[in-house]
């Protein structure tokens, strides 16, 4: 039997040069130290084979935890720092989490669950048991407000990562993503398995400081969503960095952002990639134009593509395996294709992205299901029903807007104003900021299908 490779083994093989590693505001560690260190301070044996959730506030700590837990635990649920409350409780329950790795003994995880507080990195003294295959689990938004937990294997997550040639200089990576979301995780894994330095940010670091650190680290490769890149171009610190490779993913890369980046960073290769938590990394577009060549439908590398009913479907070994804790939900169709719910349309020899299938809304790379917002609005006593939909936006791709049908017919303008405030108040209590509708329109009716479902129309 072939020895199983865990992330540490890949990182150990790749960490050739001295001086490469992870850095974050006020902290840094060499790959070599990270691989030979521990943040679990003697509790490895207790965690072996368990279902573990990473609920850390710092991405730097999360990186060290992922490096140590892969191959040790049976399941590793990776959550971003804004993942809290009921959604956290639901994830803990669905993934049958035994232990939460955290940095705060008193943090509220919504349920009572054993917790291990992470330790500063020290040299390991405890022997590691032989590596087992760890399931990597990333939460995504679900229609009911409860998150869906998407399960990957390490070899699937690494499917798009190409090994670096021996003569190739190690890139210096940075990402605007959080490495606990799929797009950022790809960059962490790329850096870890290629021995490249990765300059991480933390959620409280201003972009200007992040830029200064990226400039100091000599970042050559930088990734983010089109929204991240627009935010960068609006920052006077943008000229401080000189990336050679610019990668956009997670949202539609339109002509405006591609052209602006190409002229602002003339020495950079601007690449946009298609990837999603469920479908994995699909393909890259390297010609600097929006959309992708129609020839891609013939297959790109080992990724097969289909367009059915206007939506893009992908099949490859990089797609996720399944949803954890939800045997009723199917991730792929009978042929193994994952429906991305992204609509594409052919114009000449190219396909262009036309937004999400009526259903999900993409705000700067963060997915929102209209139903989860509608459920909150419908909690209000005065609301009969509501329809939440996207509004196109040049800064974040989409924004959330809502149409609300009230129970009463005759409502005074003053009453409408106070109802609007109350509904928005409910949303603020229960939803993350980007999910709160930016406008509420009161309507006298909402269109229904013959089957009694809200007609959402095409996004």
């Amino acid at each position: 039997m072939q020895p199983r490779f865990d992330l540490r083994s890949y990182a150990r093989d790749a960490a050739r040069e001295d001086g490469t590693g992870l850095c974050a505001p006020g902290r840094q560690v060499l790959w070599r130290e990270a691989i030979e260190g521990t943040v679990l301070s003697g509790r490895r044996a207790l965690l072996a084979g368990k279902s573990v959730l990473i609920g850390l506030s710092s991405q730097f700590d999360a990186a060290l935890a992922m490096l140590e837990l892969d191959g040790l635990v049976a399941r590793m649920v990776i959550t971003p720092p804004d993942f809290l409350g009921e959604r956290m409780a639901s994830a803990i329950e669905q993934a049958q989490v035994d232990v939460v790795i955290c940095d705060d003994e008193n943090k509220d995880f919504g349920v009572t669950v054993p917790r291990f507080v992470i330790s500063p990195i020290t040299r390991e003294t405890e022997a590691a048991p032989p590596p087992i295959e760890t399931q990597w689990v990333l939460p995504t938004s679900g229609t009911t407000g409860a998150p869906k937990l998407v399960a990957h294997r390490l070899d699937g997550l690494l499917g798009a990562v190409r090994p670096r040639a021996a003569a190739e200089p190690a890139p210096v990576w940075a990402t605007f993503y959080d490495i606990r979301r799929y797009g950022g995780l790809q960059i962490f894994l790329r850096a870890a398995t290629s021995g490249a330095t990765l300059a991480l940010t933390e959620s409280d670091e201003p972009l200007s400081d992040h830029l200064a650190r990226m400039a100091e680290a000599g970042v050559t490769h930088l990734s983010g969503t089109p929204s991240h890149w627009r935010r960068l171009l609006m920052n006077p610190g943008a000229p401080r960095i000189a990336p050679k490779y610019i990668r956009l993913s997670g949202e539609i890369a339109d002509r405006a952002i591609l052209d602006n980046l190409a002229s602002f960073y003339p020495d950079a290769r601007v690449v946009h990639a298609y990837a999603s938590t469920e479908a994995g990394v699909g393909f890259e577009v390297t010609d600097g134009r929006a959309g992708f060549p129609a020839s891609y439908l013939g297959g790109v590398g080992d990724v097969e593509m289909r367009v059915i009913d206007g939506s893009l479907r992908l099949r490859s070994r990089r797609t996720a395996d399944r949803y954890v804790g939800r045997d009723d939900l199917r991730l792929a169709d009978e042929d193994g294709f994952v429906d991305t719910d992204d609509l594409v349309e052919r114009e000449g020899d190219r396909f262009y992205f036309k937004g999400r299938r009526a259903g999900t809304i993409n705000i700067g790379g963060l997915k929102v299901h209209p139903e989860e917002v509608e459920q909150v609005i419908n909690l209000h006593d005065g609301v009969r029903m509501s329809l939440v939909k996207p509004r196109r936006n040049p800064i974040t791709g989409d924004l959330v807007i809502a149409q609300v049908m009230l129970k009463e017919n005759e409502v005074s303008p003053e009453r409408k104003r106070s109802l609007k405030d109350e509904i928005l108040g409910l949303c603020k209590e229960r939803l993350e900021r980007h999910k709160i509708p930016i406008s509420i329109e009161f309507v006298s009716s909402l269109a229904m299908s013959p089957g009694g479902k809200l007609l959402r129309g095409k996004a």
Partner: protein
């Protein structure tokens, strides 16, 4: 109301809604120092499209991303002048 004042009042309104402290805005104030984040600007652009009937980020082939408050106002003034 002038375009500049409309832009300013929408920025104030959105800052209040989003519970952000808006900096005193002068022509050379950097947007990054305005106290507003990307989501705030996205909402501001949507509200200004409703108020002024134009979204300069999508109305023109030649788009640039504003860095200062004056850049931001000029985007709308130029779009209105077309």
């Amino acid at each position: 109301m002038s375009i500049r004042l409309t832009v300013l009042s929408v920025m104030e309104e959105v800052a209040a809604e989003q519970e952000k402290k808006l900096a005193a805005l002068k022509d050379d104030t950097l947007l990054v120092n305005s106290g507003l984040d990307s989501l705030c600007f996205a909402i501001i652009v949507a509200r200004l499209e409703d108020a002024l009937g134009v979204d300069p980020f999508t109305a023109s082939e030649e788009v640039y991303f504003p860095v200062t408050f004056a850049d931001f106002v000029a985007l709308y003034e130029n779009a209105a002048a077309v």
